[in-house]
Symmetry: C2
DNA sequence: TTCTCTTTTGAGAATAGTTACTAATACGGA
DNA sequence: TCCGTATTAGTAACTATTCTCAAAAGAGAA
């Protein structure tokens, strides 16, 4: 656990905004001005493999990262692209239903809602 | 509706394999050897705006395209990356439940299952 | 058909996000 | 402390996609 890795983890856990890799990079740079973007990518990958953070491969062009690891869903704003958590029971019911009818071995699911966030609704 | 656009649409509707843009390009090239990759991307974009095809922005690095436009979900194989359809009622119930509790204006949802396809299971 | 205007094309350059490479540095255990 | 491994910063390379632009193809009017 290097200094860089610790800072990346801490900054991510501090936020609930599901930042992209370069947003994490900007924040980490305030504390470690010489950190490189490659280090941020590498450590985000390692931390998500260890299960300390979550890598979100949802719609949009960039990956996002989440300091919360419990199973939960997200809403993406179609206008500004921001992402929020949705407090909701996991989809185990649906997954189990699928297990009965599909030839696939079902491991999990990924559910994302699309909408307009309160801020963008206001500005309409 | 140019020759190129028609061929791209036909090839996509012929398949149920949710091809990536370069897979569509390969197929279109068999019928129009001089077609360019840019043309394929441009037309896939236009066709999905018209609602003639569906653009899938699911997990993974590449976008995929679907000749079926009805609302349905997908399973992605975690090993080989292939994608299949899941016959399943749309998530309107869940979406409506969320409409009551979220500040977002909910427009839709995107549900993807993760699993292992029959082929990969066999090869284990 | 022919003329004109708009759209689309092919080819290649440009871009964005991410990953890989490498020499130098930091870390951790004996 | 020394030594071997892991990690770093910096940069180059890569991949998927989008953009640019001159040339070609359509589409509609005469």
């Amino acid at each position: 656990m290097t200094q860089q890795r610790r800072v990346i983890l801490e900054e991510l856990q501090k936020l609930d905004s599901h930042p992209t890799a370069d947003e994490v990079y900007e924040r980490a740079r305030r504390r470690l001005p010489r950190i490189s973007l490659g280090t941020v990518y590498r450590n985000l990958e390692i931390l998500s493999e260890c299960g300390l953070i979550q890598k979100l491969e949802l719609g949009g062009t960039q990956k996002r990262f989440d300091g919360r690891v419990e199973n939960h869903c997200h809403v993406r704003c179609i206008r500004c692209g921001c992402i929020s958590d949705v407090p909701m029971a996991p989809l185990t019911t649906i997954e189990n239903r699928l297990r009965g009818t599909s030839d696939y071995e079902i491991i999990g699911s990924r559910l994302e809602f699309i909408g307009v966030c309160p801020q963008c609704k206001k500005e309409h």
